[in-house]
């Protein structure tokens, strides 16, 4: 499975939303599923999916679909040349 698919699946699995709801417009706090508690579940799911460790500072940085991609990219997850 490609990393971008893993990334999208993590949202579906953690936030219990439909696949077509996962997109660039997804922002923390703007849907009832992605609230502060849902965020903790999403972080755990991302950590397991990509074998990374996200501390509190990074967790606050991960506040949208887009910022999550950038953050994981910085942590070595390749979304382009895989």
């Amino acid at each position: 499975m490609k990393n971008i698919e893993k990334y999208r699946n993590a949202f579906v699995e953690a936030l219990e939303i439909e696949e077509d709801e996962v997109g660039e417009e997804l922002v923390l706090g703007e849907t009832s599923e992605w609230d502060s508690l849902g965020h903790m579940i999403l972080i755990s799911t991302m950590e397991e999916a990509f074998d990374v460790s996200l501390d509190s500072e990074w967790m606050s940085e991960f506040d949208s679909y887009q910022s999550g991609l950038k953050l994981l990219d910085r942590l070595g997850v390749d979304f382009i040349n895989e």
Partner: protein
């Protein structure tokens, strides 16, 4: 020497003068001497405990860094934290555990022979222990290098403006500020003095004026339900004024020395939910709990029910940190329950708001949420303020009795004030609310004020200073100074 004293103001004026008069390379010596003198004046020989904890944390930090593997680093960190928590546990929780075990033994008819011990709680131990723990964990996580300059490290541990009751600062933020040469700036002196004056205002005109009135109800076994309701609401105002005043004075003093401390309050009684409340109340403590307790507990958790357990444990620790008594444990649990219940019923509450058309008027809806959150916080503070669990349950029952909320009963309950005290409190409470109102509309009331004509600006400053001098009540310690 407490913050609210002429002695402290004179002491601080001398420190500020000396600080900007000597070369930067000697300033750490001055700050350290000032910090230890200040602490010794408050806590006497416990300054040796502070010195021991400082030396121990300094060495442990370097030892963590020197370990080669993550596993070894973790081991040293855990031993370090264990020792620091042992100090805290011994002084703060020994008698709590001892009394609880004795009560359990008596209930089970067991023989328990360890007597009550006369242990005095060293001032600020809960605060500097938390700073030390964050320092060691941050080194272990690789987010911070162990400080090698013992002088700067010691100031981080004992910086007198925030030593007694925070804000709980991270080494990453505070240490670099001590190392940078701070130049004398008018803006820093001016802003610092305003924050200190505002702290004095809240402490002497709101908190210390309310303290004896609240105590007259909570110390009275025959208090009526309406009196408990009124006293609890007043206690919430008192606690906010008291604790935020401490933070104002700490932030103001530090700013006069060129050091920026973290804001600790953002109008918590205007929170729209319990989660929001904890983002606004004792912020440096909440973020500490989030980073070092809650987030680690949530690692690998993928179900809401598991996150709920982490929330309850975090709030339980918050309660125990506040005080070694079961009433504080219950207070923590109540907030944990609020947070879990709030999350669990989020959708149902959304539907209810829609059903009652509340959501069609966002401003009114927001104020309803603010009122409900404030009342929930007030209810929890019955446990915070009561002297024992038995008293807390009695008071809580009175608080929840519908007849306690009868308007006529509440009006009668105002008898706990003398007419003069009521008038003085009402006036200064309105002033404080006006300050908050301006802050909600603008980022900072002080900036807003600085843009007003000179006459208006100085009228406000004079009002603050003269009010403190004429109407200020003193003699009460800070509530959070006891933690």
């Amino acid at each position: 020497m407490t913050f609210i004293s002429i002695e402290f103001l004179l002491f601080f004026a001398v420190i500020v003068f000396a600080y900007y008069s000597i070369p930067h390379r000697w300033r750490w010596v001055l700050l350290l001497a000032a910090s230890y003198s200040f602490y010794a004046s408050l806590s006497g020989y416990f300054v040796f405990l502070l010195l021991t904890s400082t030396a121990f944390s300094y060495v442990t930090g370097i030892l963590i860094e020197k370990q080669e593997t993550k596993k070894q680093k973790k081991k040293v960190m855990l031993v370090g934290i264990g020792v620091l928590l042992f100090f805290l546990g011994w002084f703060k929780y020994f008698n709590f555990v001892n009394d609880s075990l004795r009560a359990i033994s008596a209930y089970l008819n067991w023989n328990y022979t360890i007597p009550y011990q006369e242990i005095i709680l060293p001032i600020a131990i809960s605060f500097y222990t938390f700073q030390a723990v964050s320092y060691l964990v941050d080194i272990y996580r690789g987010k911070l290098k162990a400080e090698r300059h013992y002088g700067y490290f010691s100031i981080y541990f004992a910086f007198f403006p925030q030593l007694v009751a925070g804000p709980i600062e991270r080494a990453k933020k505070l240490l670099p500020q001590f190392k940078v040469e701070q130049t004398l700036k008018y803006e820093n002196l001016s802003y610092g003095m305003k924050r200190i004056a505002w702290g004095f205002f809240k402490k002497t005109l709101i908190a210390d004026r309310l303290a004896p009135i609240v105590a007259s109800v909570y110390d009275n076994p025959d208090a009526t339900g309406s009196q408990i309701v009124l006293a609890t609401i007043l206690f919430s105002v008192q606690l906010y004024a008291d604790f935020s005043a401490l933070s104002d004075i700490a932030i103001g003093c530090a700013r006069m020395l060129g050091i920026k401390l973290t804001e600790n309050f953002k109008q918590p009684h205007f929170a729209t939910s319990i989660g929001d409340f904890w983002n606004r109340w004792h912020i440096t403590f909440s973020t500490w709990l989030r980073d070092y307790i809650f987030v680690p507990l949530c690692k690998g958790k993928k179900k809401r029910s598991e996150i709920y357990v982490a929330i309850i444990i975090t709030f339980l620790i918050s309660g125990i940190w506040h005080g070694a008594a079961w009433s504080f444990v219950l207070w923590g649990l109540i907030h944990g329950f609020y947070r879990v219940f709030g999350d669990h019923t989020k959708q149902a509450r959304g539907k209810m708001a829609s059903f009652t058309y509340l959501d069609r008027n966002p401003t009114f809806h927001k104020w309803v949420k603010i009122a409900i959150t404030f009342l929930l916080v007030c209810f929890s503070r019955v446990f915070f303020r009561s002297d024992s669990v038995t008293a807390a349950f009695t008071n809580a029952q009175l608080f929840l009795t519908p007849s306690s909320w009868r308007p006529s009963g509440i009006i009668d309950a105002f008898e706990i004030f003398s007419l003069l005290d009521l008038a003085i409190f009402a006036f200064f409470f309105v002033v404080m609310q006006l300050f908050h109102h301006v802050e909600r509309k603008n980022a900072s009331t002080w900036n807003w004020l600085s843009q007003r004509p000179v006459f208006a600006r100085y009228a406000v400053y004079v009002l603050i200073v003269v009010s403190v001098l004429v109407f200020g009540a003193t003699g009460q310690g800070f509530v959070y100074g006891g933690f």
